[in-house]
Structures are given as C-alpha cells and as structure tokens.
C-alpha cells in the first residue's frame, strides 16, 4: 500500500450547505501534502472527516489503511491531530500536557518517559517543560501542540492551520520541524492559507468553495496556471501605465505588487525591451527590472479566477 491516505468522492453537507463536494485524492507515504484554500473553503471539514471527528455524508476514505467510516478507532490510533483552535490544556504545564497525550495514546512508564524525552529534544522544548501552557509564547505553544500530536509516532499527522497567528520566525522554525518529521517517514497533511508555506509542500491541493480544483506539485501548478515568464519592474508612475501594459499584445497579465509592477509575458518569450519602451512612452520611469518566479499566490488567484469564469 503506497497511498497512506485515499479519498474518494468525499462529501459533507451541513443542511443545504455543501462544505466539501465530492473530493478525491491520495497522499503518498512520507510526503508533505498541503491543503490550500480561503477560509471556509472546506479544508478543516476535510481534515475533520479524515481524523474521524466528523462523519462524511458521502464518499469514502481510507487513512493508514483503515476506513474512516468502519474503523474510526483504528484511524485515530494511527494519526496525530493538531486542531486549528489551540487545544492544549492551558492551565497545565508543558510536561503535564505531554504526559496526558502520551497516556491517551497508551504510553506508560518507561515508554512514556522515553517518548517525552525524544519529542522534547526534537521540538527543543526542554527549557519550557515546567512552564504553564498559558504562559508560553504563541510559537512555543504551537511546538508543544505539535509535540503532543506526534509523540506517539503516528503514521500520519494532520495539522490544521498550525501556524495561524504565529510570527514569521516561529513559522520558519515550525516548518523546519515539519520537514524533519517528513524526512523521518511521517506523512504530513497540512492546511494553511500562507502561500509561502505551501512552497515547502511536496504536493498541493487547492480548494475553492468545497471543491478540490487543482492538485499537483508547486512547480507543475505554476507551469499550468501561471505560464510564461514574469518580470518585476521598479520605477515611478507605474500605476499610471498599468492599463497600457495590460493592452500590449504579448502581455498576459499585469498587476501592481506594492510599488512594483509585475508583468507576465506570453509563453513564447521575453519581450522585455519592447515592454519597457512601451511603458516609457506611456509616461513611466523604469529604474530596475528583474525576472521573478511565479508565486503560489498567483497560482491561487489564477485558479480562483478560472473557477469564477467557468
């Protein structure tokens, strides 16, 4: 069995509202699978169904080889889950939280102490063990929550918006941990709405309005949804020439990013010289140009745009 998660036509309705519309995908063992989408797109609902927290109204899914409908207990024993809402026990200290979750997953005595020691070392929580969870800063809390979710060494760990509201430095540290976990063979299923984080994922599923509209590696998604090269121009009066830039026949798209103008060319080639000349004629000063890689943010906007056009 190579697919550690197999999802087929999974569906969840809340009354007349369809939160997840017949989603199908699979996740390989040991990969970091990113689940992207706006708030309310159905990411959390999907995760909750896969963790056995929510019954699907249609379709089926196997997690770690167990059917989520027929063997939810076995599914739960094979996974770790870190929910969106911070759900450690804030009145208890870090060690008590670890002891509790270890106990819940059946660890005891020497095995429990060993597991705590290991996970504390991996997540670098040593100096915080005796601190009450409520006194820990956000980034360390997230690390503690992750430690609680993985200390029983699950096959798969589900992380629902694990870095929401955490500072950039802590986010980076957290993602380092996630990559280490995956390198050790743990499958990581993670939802996020930070597009920069999604770059770390081996594959990405994009959800819009409950439907999985795109699924591939970040590079393949960029090639498909944001083809052609993109240049970023710096200068003055760039916003004035935005309209002119968009009308050029070889320009696919032009957008302002801060005070910079980002222009995407047709797949054929780079007509940078012609572009700059046209913009100067329209009244802009260009001081600098650089070629940039398409971002997943652009992919996301393109996917949503295509979905809306359809």
């Amino acid at each position: 069995m190579s697919h550690v998660i197999e999802v087929e036509n999974l569906r969840r309705e809340f009354g007349s509202f369809v939160a997840v519309r017949n989603v199908s995908f699979h996740v390989e063992r040991g990969e970091i699978f990113g689940y992207l989408g706006a708030n309310g797109a159905g990411k959390s609902t999907t995760i909750k169904m896969l963790c056995g927290l929510l019954a699907p109204t249609g379709g089926r899914a196997r997690v770690a080889g167990h059917d989520i409908d027929h063997a939810p207990q076995r599914v739960k024993a094979s996974i770790g889950y870190m929910s969106q809402k911070f759900s450690l026990y804030l009145d208890l200290d870090a060690r008590s939280n670890l002891q509790f979750f270890g106990g819940i997953y059946g660890l005891r005595g020497k095995a429990l102490r060993g597991a705590i020691e290991q996970v504390v070392e991996r997540t670098d929580l040593g100096e915080h063990l005796t601190q009450t969870a409520s006194a820990l800063p956000g980034g360390i809390r997230q690390r503690l929550a992750l430690a609680c979710a993985v200390m029983h060494r699950p096959e798969i760990v589900f992380l629902d918006e694990p870095t929401a509201g955490v500072d950039p430095v802590s986010r980076r540290q957290f993602w380092k941990l996630i990559r280490e976990l995956a390198a050790q063979g743990t499958t990581v299923f993670v939802t996020t709405h930070y597009m920069d984080e999604a770059e770390y994922c081996a594959r990405i599923g994009l959800m819009v309005d409950g439907a999985l509209v795109a699924l591939d590696t970040p590079d393949a998604l960029k090639a498909e949804y944001v083809p052609g090269t993109t240049v970023e121009l710096e200068g003055s009066d760039l916003q004035r020439v935005l309209g002119a830039a968009r009308q050029l026949p070889f320009v696919r798209a032009a957008d302002l990013f801060g005070d910079r103008l980002r222009v995407r060319f047709d797949a054929k080639g780079t007509d940078l010289a012609r572009l700059e000349e046209a913009l100067r004629r329209a009244g802009a000063q260009i001081t600098r140009d650089s070629q940039v890689e398409a971002s997943l943010e652009e992919v996301f906007l393109a996917v949503v745009g295509r979905k809306e056009a359809a």
Binding site: S83, S87, D91
Partner: protein, 370 residues
Amino acid sequence: MKPRRILALADKEVRHVMRDVRTLYLALAMPLLMLLLFGFGVSFDLEHLPVAVVDLDQSTVSRTLRRRLLADDVFDDAGLYASGAEAERALVEGKAAMVVVIERDLARHLARGEHAEVQLLVDGSDNSSATQARARGELAVRAILASSTRELRIAPAIELRTITRFNPSGKSAVFLVPGISAYVLAMVAVLLTALTVSREWERGSMAQLFATPVTRAEIVLGKLLPYLLLGLLAVLLVIAAGGWVFDVPFRGSAPTLCLLSLLFLIGMLGLGLLISVVARNQMVATQLATMSSMLPSLLLSGFVFPIDNMPTALQWLSRAVPARYYVSGLRGVLLRGNGLGELWPEALMLGAFGLVMLALSTARFPRTIA
C-alpha cells in the same frame, strides 16, 4: 476500554483540580459551609419562646407551675398578667407566643380531686412553632400537675408513656443533618462534573480528545473517578462535622456509609456528566445542574417535608430522586445503626440510578464533534 487511558484522563483531571482552588473549595469547603448554615439556620427546635402567665389562683401550686414552666430554655418569661385580656394583648402584640391561664381555684380543685383547668393560648400564625409550643406546653403542664397530684396521692385515670427512640431529645439537628448532607452533596456533586465536561467543550479540547483513540466510556469514567474520591472526602468531612458540631451520632458501620455514599455520588456525578454532555456550555450546565439537583433534593427527598405527607403523585415522583434514598440511608446508618441488611433497598435504588446515569451519559456523548 483501556485502564491506561482512563488513568491518563483521571490524572489530568486531578491536575486541573490542583491548579484550580475553586474546584477544591466547591467540593470541600462549600458542603461544610452549607452544613453549618443550614444546621444552625434551619432548626425546628423550640427555644426561648416567650410565655405570659395569668395566675388567677395565686396558690403554691400555681406559682410552682409557673416556676417550673420557665425553668428550662424552652420558655422565656414574658411577664405575669392579672387578667386574660391583658395577656391576650401581649399575644397580639407579639410579646408572647403562648399564654398560660391558670384558673382561680386550681389548687382547690386539685386537692378535691375535681376537674381542674389550665388554658393555653397559642399564637397560631407560625404553624410549626405553634404545634410544638402547644405540645411542649401541654407536656409541661401535665408533668407539673401530675407531680403535684401525686403529692396529693390521687391516681390519674390513664397515663400515656411515649418513648422516642434514636433521637430521644427530639433535637432537629440530629434529624436534619443527614438530610442536609444529602442535599448539599447532591448539589456539589452534580456541579463538579457538570462543569468539567462543558469546560472541555468550551476550550475546544474535546475535538482534540475525539481525534485520539479514547472512547466515550473512557472519558466518562476518567471524569468520574477523581470526583468520586473528592466527593467521598466531602461526605466524610460533612458527617464528621455533623457529629462534632451538631452531636449527630454515628451508630452504624463506616463501610455501609461509604458504600451508600459511593453509590449516591456515582448517581449525582453521572447526572452532572449527562448535563454537561447535553449542555456543552458552562452557563447552561450550571443552571441545569442546580435545577435538577437542588429542587428535588430539597423538596422530594424527605429532608424537610416528610414523603408520607405528600400527594400520591409527588410520592411517586420522589422515587426517582436519589437523595430520597440517601437521606433515609444516612438516617439509617447514623441514627438507627442500620447495616446493609436493612438498607439494601436504598443501596439498590442508588446503584440503579448511578448505572442509568452513566449509561445515559455514555450513550448521549457524541461520537463526533458536529
């Protein structure tokens, strides 16, 4: 069902309690405080009742009668009046709760073995004091007259001898403390668990628990065990305080008391669990808990109002109130020195209630979060 997981849950619960002094206060200090409040506050004992005397006889017998009447703490002197009309005014003004009118020729009638009369006027606006005042008054008058007639060597026609066992002095604390204990423990036990599960819902940690292999029955048991111990501690504290402060005897065996208390606590803690499973929010849970434990335990347990005096429908309803069995069980163990030989029906009913509560809590516990 894995003991290891139940233990982990119970251990976590103990840590919560140790962190939060309020729970300990609720579990241990509240019952004691309420016992003292109720014990001193709710007393049916009659003491220091103002009594006015109208002595129209002015004989040795009549003076002895008055002196003896006022000799103990039950009656206080509210004055000696010359006429019945004056004494009655004292009654109306509330200066006296009872008036004793001694007829003019009491001593002479007694000496001749003739019909003698002493009149008791009682303020009936407070019914329960009136009943007791009348009974005490009658008793006092009869005793005094009996002794004086005996001095005169006249045999009374029939003598009624009543012996009240188990609570011979008729102290209401002895009778009330078991009831108060049951009432207080019922309330505290339900509140303890009603809040812990709903707290878990509000914190969002229930979702986290549901994502682990822990089962519903394990959560129910893990939540129950620590509070069972805490509750048992509260029982012992309350019983000890009852004995120490209110002289409530302990004539039965400790194991019987513990068994009954354990069964009762399982039922009430189970009720709390059921409430928090259904309510999911601490506000609603608190209200449901007080409503479902306080009122039945106060009104339908036989703690204040004897069940035998209730309308049939209420008598039937009281059968579903565990406090009823616990009150009668406690009175049995403490006052009558009963063992399980006499109290097995109570134990059975308490056990049944506990089982039903635990089964319902587990069954109503959602499997999933939505």
